[in-house]
Structures are given as structure tokens and as C-alpha cells.
Amino acid sequence: MKVKPVNHAKAAEVFLQDEPHLKFHDERLWDMRQKRDQQMHILPEWQELRARASEIKEHTLAHLPEYLEQFEANAKKNGIHVHWAADAGEHNRIAGEILEKHRAKSLIKSKSMVTEECDMRGYLEPRGITVTETDLGERIQQLDNQMPSHVVVPAVHKLIPDVAKVFAENYQTDPNERDPHALAEAQREAARPVILSADAGMTGGNFLVAETGTFVVCTNEGNADLSSTVTGLHIATLGIERIIPRMADLGVFVRLLSRSALGSPITQYTTHFRGPQKGGEMHVILVDNGRSQRLGMDDFWTSLKCIRCGACMNTCPVYRRSGGLSYGAVYSGPIGSILDPTFNERKYSTLPFASTMNGSCTNVCPVKINIHEQLYKWRRVLAEHHEIPFVKRELMRMAGRIMGKPVLYRAAINSTNAALGNLPRVALYNWMNPWGKNRELPPAAKQSFHSWYKENRLKKEKA
């Protein structure tokens, strides 16, 4: 049976009808974007940091096998067990085996997009292992049986009454509680005993450092440090693209990450794990799950530079006004729309159309991924692989949403700026971008798509 493509437009329509949720979601994410801008303006070296981050990542991706081997050798020297998982299934098996060996029945974990990608809870729980998400937003989503709707703030689409309802059902708190401090306290009180009696802990990770065999976890709530230090058994799961060469390179990335994500200069906790604690055991699972294939895709490999800051989501008028869940995928927003089709081209074939192509995502990306160009290239790929009527229909849905919603239309206009310089006029004004049809955009190079495409590709190959 063929999988059905996600109906993003329809799911977004439902979200758009809920005015209070929509308004908060839109404003909250825009506020995060503005806080990011403030941080950017404080640092005169901001653009240089972005350029460095991009160069370091591109270099590392081009030397991925060597750096992964270097990481493995150093981590092993320090007493870390290193595992390699080709796909989601293997990742879950490895995690399951480690837990089984320790007869662990209760696993506490901090947020990890990779474990979401692998649907690890769905694998472990039928095997008798209770998995407790300890990040507040992630826990809310777990209790509500939903995927995270944002890579940094998983429950950003919920309002206080939604959280009160979920907690009342699970923590027996007052369903009419409206004080967020009391709700956060309820989470702390509920989590502590679970953390203190757990058998094993698990975290994701933001960076792997080849030079030292270190992995780094950047978080705010303290739950990742609790999950990793309390039980004596720490399993960390990271995608293979997370690696950087040198400890000193962290300076560049740590300075960019939280500023881009939340507009804070650093996360409350930046934790460097280089080996197990005294008497403890530490495992790192290096996950491929499609990444090595993506590295071979000429137009899309640079999406592997992503450090999951979420800035492209916060700035995207379509994401802000459709909500992460409408993407029907683990990764949502602009980055999701270019990553998801590499996991399942048919299922996620509609997502590259969920964009106004305003280029704002590309502008804010701390590692300079050409997100809006990749969205456009995905549309071309999908037009080649699918029926033209399908592509036309998705475009019409997109256009209908934008033009039919004055607020979204305005948001799209307001954030139309720079970045467009890289796209040829024909890409903006042809039938694949209905948005461009109705609006005169900043002037762009007069060049046909094909010559532009060829030139850029050749540039990349020669560069």
C-alpha cells in the first residue's frame, strides 16, 4: 500500500481556525526571533561566526569518516562504549540491549530528536521498559501522546489551560490551575522521585568533538544533567553529522546556538562528557539513519550542517501560522521541509510547498544553510518524480492559504527581504512559486533556472 502524503494544508487550516492558539503561537515564535536579532546586534562578529560555523561544518562533513573514527578512538580511550547504528531499528535494538544487560526497567531521558526519529519509546515500552521524558515540554508532549511540535520548545503550540489539563489527568493537579510556576513545580515534584529511582539515563547531544572524544549537551532545565549523572548508566544518542573537529571549535557553535534558538547568550547548562563517572558506564550511539545517503545528494547535503536551533522555524510565516504538528513529521518548519523528504519522499512530498520562499529562514540560519533554495529544488525534484497535477494542487493550496489569510499575507510581505538575491527571477516568478506571481519581489538576477542551476552546481563541484 502506498503511503499517503501528509495533508499539511488541511492540518494547517484547522490550526488557523483556533484564534487564541494561533495568536499566541505566532507571537511567541516571533518574540524568539526578535530576541535572536537583539543578540545578533550585540555581537559585531556575528556574520563572521556564521561564516566560520558554516566552513567548519562543511569541512567536517567532507571528512566525516575520518573524524568519526577519531572520535571513536578517543572516546574508547576514555572508557566510553561507542556503537554504530545504520538505521532507526538498529538504534533501538542497541539501546534495548544495553538496558536489558543492566536489567533496567525505568529509563529517564532528556530531549533528543534522534530518539524521536527512531520512535524509540515505541520500541522500548512494549519490552517492559518505562521511558520518562524529563524535559518539561517533551514530557507534556509525551503525556499528551503527541510529537514535539518544535525542535527547541516541543509544546510551544499549547496554552496554559492545555498543560493544566494534561497535568490534571496525569499528576492529579488542579485542572483549573493557571499559574505556570505552579505547573512547572508540579513537573519538578513528579519528576524527582522517578529520576532518583531510575535504572538508567539517556540524553541526546548537540556536538561530538573528534579531538577529545567528547560529546556536548546544551540544555536549560537541568534535567539532562540529572538524567546523565544520577543512575550511573548514561546512554547518549547522536546523529553522525553532529561532529566537529576540535574542542576550540565549540566556541563558535556554543556562541551561536542559544542566541539563534532563544535569544539567550548561552543555555543554562553546557555539559561536556568525556568519559564515564567513577563507577559508572557510558555509551554513545552514533546514528546514521539516512544521513550517509543525504551526504551524497548534491543539492541537499548541506542540510547536514544543521545544529537544530529552530531559528528558521521561528521566522517562518507559514510555520508560525500552521504549527509544527501540521507537518506530520518529526522535523517541522523550513528545516523539516527539506529533511523530511529524504526520509520518505512520498509521505513528505507536500512539505516543500509549505513556504512563501521569502528567504527569511536562510537569513537567520547560524550555519548558513540555503534553506529556501533547497525548498525550491525539492519542488523541482518532486515535479519530476510526481504527476504535474499533484504539484499544481499543492501549489494552489499553498497560494490559497497565503492569499486567503490577510495576516499571513502581511507576515509574508514583511519578512520578504535580502536572501532572495541567490534565486533567479525565473524561480520566483514561474508557476512553481504562486507566491511570487502576485507580488513584485526585490529584483533578482535575470537568468534562467537552468543556467543558474548549472552554474551553481558547477561552482560547487569546482569550488
Binding site: G222, L226, T229, L250, Q268, H272
Partner: protein, 195 residues
């Protein structure tokens, strides 16, 4: 072929030309001010506080003044007694009863108001720094580094510690309708005491 070899082989055949993408030099960018004033401003921005010395008072007196209800004060430094010493804490479960933990950081970062702690400061009970309700961190002005770049290039701890955490203020969350809450799941407050 096992997964490791399969992944590495696929990466070798799929990667872009390695000779094209060079590794840039190590970056030392940004403001090089490593003053106490800059550290304090950054610390406040992250929700941390300075435990100000009133008159000639000792650390013990300042802790008692700041945390009048504290019953268990766990000291991880030799020059301060508290109600018990970290060497006498044998499990995370016991550490979880701590009201205030006092610890000395080997260095701080002016750009972010961060303090560094590792197993060397925590007698290998790393969870103690997160299970306590409040944290008091002793820091010397001499040991402030300017920013993240200088921290990673100057400080050897990043190459030696098994567990090294940069704590920048107390734990925090904004996961419920965007409201910033200081004191999430780790320490509820973090104060720096200058020595």
C-alpha cells in the same frame, strides 16, 4: 560488513570532495574583556546572583543570611564546614536532601556569566550539583576568562575532566506558554561568592 564499516564506506563514497573544504583556523573573536563587572552583568542576565559580602562577614554568615531556612548545607570545599561535607554524601538519594551546596569553581566566563564544575570539584558525585535546591559557587576574579573562545583555548579542564558542566545561572524553562521560570528541575538559584 558490520554497520560501522557500512556507514563509513557509504560516507567515503558519498561525501563531497574533501580537498575542496578546508578547515579554518581556530577563531578567537569578540570582546576580550574579562572583568568582574562584565561577568556580573552576564550572570544577572542568566538569572544568577552575586552573594554580596556585608561588612566583614564570613561565607558561613552570608549563607546563613541568604538561606535562613536551610537545614542541610553541603560543602564541597575544605575551607567551609556547612552541615556536612561532600565526602560524607554517598548517594544521589542522599544528595537530593541538600538545601544548599557550596562549591568552588576553577573558572568563570565573563561573556556568559558561566561557572565551570567537574568531578574534581564534586568529589565525583556529579549529580550533587543538580540535586541540591540552591548552589553557592566560590569564584576568584583572577579566574575569569573573557568569552567562549578563550575558555575553550585556555582552559585545560576541557581536555581532562570526564564531566564538565558550564552552569550559567540556575535551571530554567519557558516551556509553559513562554513564561520564563527560573528554577526548573536543577538548582532553583545560583549565587556567586567572590574570594
Amino acid at each position: 560488513m558490520n554497520s560501522r564499516e557500512m556507514i563509513l564506506a557509504r560516507l567515503r563514497s558519498n561525501r563531497p570532495d574533501p580537498d575542496v573544504y578546508l578547515l579554518p583556523d581556530i577563531a578567537i573573536l569578540g570582546d576580550q574583556d574579562r572583568s568582574r563587572a562584565r561577568f556580573e552583568t552576564s550572570l544577572a542576565g542568566m538569572g544568577g546572583a552575586v552573594l554580596e559580602r556585608q561588612g566583614e562577614e564570613t561565607l558561613a554568615a552570608a549563607v546563613a543570611r541568604r538561606f535562613p531556612d536551610a537545614k542541610i548545607i553541603c560543602s564541597a570545599v575544605p575551607d567551609y564546614e556547612g552541615t556536612l561535607h561532600i565526602e560524607d554524601v554517598t548517594s544521589p538519594q542522599q544528595a537530593a536532601e541538600t538545601d544548599v551546596m557550596v562549591v568552588r569553581a576553577p573558572f568563570g566566563i565573563a561573556e556568559t556569566g558561566s561557572v565551570f564544575l567537574s568531578e574534581a570539584q564534586l568529589n565525583h558525585l556529579n549529580s550533587a550539583a543538580h540535586l541540591a535546591q540552591h548552589l553557592v559557587v566560590i569564584l576568584s576574579e583572577q579566574n575569569i576568562t573573557a568569552n567562549m573562545h578563550t575558555a575553550y583555548t585556555e582552559r585545560q579542564e576541557f581536555h581532562t575532566a570526564h564531566y564538565g558542566v558550564l552552569m550559567s545561572g540556575p535551571s530554567a524553562t519557558a516551556d509553559i506558554q513562554g513564561v520564563l521560570i527560573r528554577g526548573a528541575q536543577g538548582v532553583r538559584s545560583l549565587s556567586v561568592w567572590w574570594e
